[in-house]
């Protein structure tokens, strides 16, 4: 169903939706930026259309809405294990096609990898409706077209934001009652970006041999990467976590088990009890991350993990570019180009 709605009507609808849904969108957090007096764009609850920031990319992805940075799995008292109740609220998220595709990747790990579903992920995920922001321009570091993740039809509502009004494609019949009394019917099909400024060529997975693992190209990252892990925390598709137990009282009687996001670029990622770890060098970790994003995941599931949102490039304090890294690999693997560029 297509609609054209005045901005104020759309805001009325948002207002009504708020009784049933928590509504998240990209918004401005003042003075929270990387440098003093700068703002950061992130995901938070929004009240109205004007809260939504459309002309800048979010620093963090929307993943924490369904996969919190820190999530309690159980509370422990002396002789009881209690699973916290799932949040009751249903959720609406305003997000772009790349991020919807990113959440598909999270779905794949949490719901399909291994013999069990991750019930904590599932119970948040099934509450979420996507309000897709039509994206035809992108930003400088985006390479979603190369990753085949610039398009999706998996949305409840797709929206084109004009000056005075919005165009809506409504797919989710549950929401019909909210929309049908407003605006006028107008066919609308969202468009998708056709070309990014940044492009990558991905080496064909079968051609990436073990020799590539030892290649000197990774040494550059040993020199440059400081292992801060921001590329992982900002990524819509990074899904790794660590189990962690804590207690609240001195005699360890009451506490919880939770999971917290983990980063493969950080020192302790592979360390076992006793301290032995693998992939000591940053270059090896960069290789591990890169392979996961454009090689390993593909071999398991038939599509790439990385969706080309470009956030890892945006947030890296050392100006390491992931898209350049992919292209370097391509030139080494596919073109036999071994010069360091």
């Amino acid at each position: 169903m297509g609609y054209q709605l005045l901005n104020k009507d759309f805001n009325d609808i948002l207002n009504q939706l708020k009784s049933e849904y928590k509504i998240y969108g990209p918004k401005r957090f003042e003075n929270k930026g990387r440098f003093s007096d700068t703002d950061v764009i992130g995901y938070g609850e929004i009240d109205k259309l004007e809260d939504i920031v459309l002309d800048e990319k979010t620093y963090f992805s929307p993943k924490e809405i369904i996969y919190p940075i820190r999530q309690t799995l159980f509370y422990f008292t002396e002789d009881e294990v209690k699973v916290p109740d799932a949040p009751e609220d249903k959720v609406i998220v305003f997000l772009r096609p790349c991020d919807i595709n990113g959440i598909k990747r999270l779905d794949t790990i949490f719901l399909e990898n291994g013999p069990y579903k991750d019930v904590y992920y599932e119970r948040l995920r099934e509450k979420v409706k996507f309000f897709m922001i039509e994206c035809t321009e992108g930003f400088d570091s985006c390479f979603c077209v190369s990753m085949n993740s610039n398009k999706t039809h998996d949305y409840a509502v797709a929206i084109r934001f004009n000056e005075e009004n919005v165009l809506i494609d409504l797919k989710d019949r549950d929401l019909l009652e909210y929309f049908e009394n407003y605006g006028k019917a107008e066919e609308f099909t969202p468009e998708y970006i056709k070309e990014n400024k940044a492009k990558v060529s991905i080496p064909y997975p079968e051609k990436v041999t073990n020799e590539m693992f030892e290649h000197e190209v990774w040494q550059e990252y040993t020199r440059r990467c400081i292992g801060c892990g921001r590329c992982n925390t900002s990524c819509i598709t990074c899904s790794c976590f660590t189990m962690q137990d804590v207690y609240y009282d001195a005699n360890k009687k009451v506490g919880e088990r939770r999971r917290v996001w983990a980063s493969c670029q950080i020192d302790v990622f592979t360390n076992m009890a006793g301290g032995h770890g693998f992939r000591e060098k940053q270059g090896q970790r960069m290789r591990f991350k890169t392979m996961h994003k454009i090689n390993d995941f593909y071999k398991r599931f038939g599509f790439h993990m990385c969706v080309g949102c470009g956030r890892c490039d945006d947030v890296c304090p050392e100006y390491i570019s992931f898209s350049k890294c992919i292209n370097k690999l391509y030139s080494i693997v596919e073109e036999g180009n071994n010069d360091e560029k």
């Binding site: 013999p115 189990m243 962690q244 137990d245 076992m272 009890a273």
Partner: protein, 265 residues
């Protein structure tokens, strides 16, 4: 409570604690888990932590785990007494393909705590020695005080060709010294086709021991290893155990050498 919650542990009472060395204790838990040889459990003390531990032995209504004191969680586990409870979930991972070893010449090379994940196999064939053509067991430890399962090793010697060695002896040590690799060439292999080799231990030990067996012309596909990794979830979600496209907690920890040699950290 949520149904089908794979993270939910169950409690199991400790029925026996055996001190193997100063820092390695074997805990027997009463439980109905029927694992395959070589699988592991996620073991925890609520509020302290959880870690993957391989099952060293099992039988009717019990499982054994040999746990080394190496950090916060294992220190606390070592404080527990008979009657206390541990929390467990699992078993996870694949196991060794026991059936495939039957009727063959089996060689097991175990270094240090690597003996734990293969102990149930050794005990199985000790009890059913007729199911093997021949059984050679190479066991290596750092020093005499690190020797695990000493009584059982002595018992195994009755039926199995056991070579026990320590990297470095002390004044009371009268047995073999040197690395396991030194004793590999002494093993007589009549028929490669009927031979299976299991190698478990620290990464470097597995690497060099495999090389020794390859030098003897043991085909790669006859060699089996077991990997140890930080396995935080055990069920293919947390990502810690991943090597290339392989999840050690799902497709391992036991790998055939043809696969293991291509797993690069």
């Amino acid at each position: 409570m949520m149904k089908n919650n794979p993270y939910l542990p169950v409690s199991a009472p400790i029925t026996k604690i055996t001190k193997e060395t100063d820092i390695d204790y074997t805990f027997r838990l009463a439980c109905d888990i029927k694992p395959q040889n070589g699988q592991f459990l996620e073991v925890s003390i609520p509020r302290v932590g959880e870690a993957p531990i391989s099952i060293s032995d099992f039988g009717d209504g019990y499982i054994d785990m040999t746990i080394r004191r190496v950090g916060k969680l294992t220190n606390d586990i070592h404080e527990l007494k008979v009657g206390d409870k541990l929390f467990i979930r699992g078993p996870y991972g694949n196991g060794f393909p026991l059936e495939q070893y039957k009727g063959k010449h089996l060689i097991i090379a175990a270094g240090g705590t690597g003996l734990a994940p293969v102990k149930s196999i050794i005990n199985y064939f000790y009890k059913n020695i007729d199911e093997l053509k021949r059984f050679d067991l190479l066991i290596g430890f750092k020093s005499p005080k690190d020797v695990l399962f000493e009584d059982e090793i002595n018992k195994w010697k009755e039926k199995i060709n056991v070579t026990l060695t320590v990297d470095k002896g002390d004044e009371n040590w009268e047995g073999n010294t040197g690395l396991i690799t030194k004793y590999v060439p002494d093993i007589k292999i009549d028929n490669m086709k009927d031979t299976e080799v299991i190698i478990v231990g620290p990464p470097i030990m597995m690497k060099f021991t495999s090389m020794e067996f390859l030098k003897l012309n043991v085909p790669e596909k006859k060699i089996w290893v077991s990997f140890e990794r930080k396995m935080s979830c055990g069920i293919g979600k947390c990502g810690h155990c991943k090597i290339d496209e392989t999840y050690v907690c799902l497709e391992g920890p036991v790998f055939n050498y043809t696969k293991a040699k291509d797993l690069i950290d």
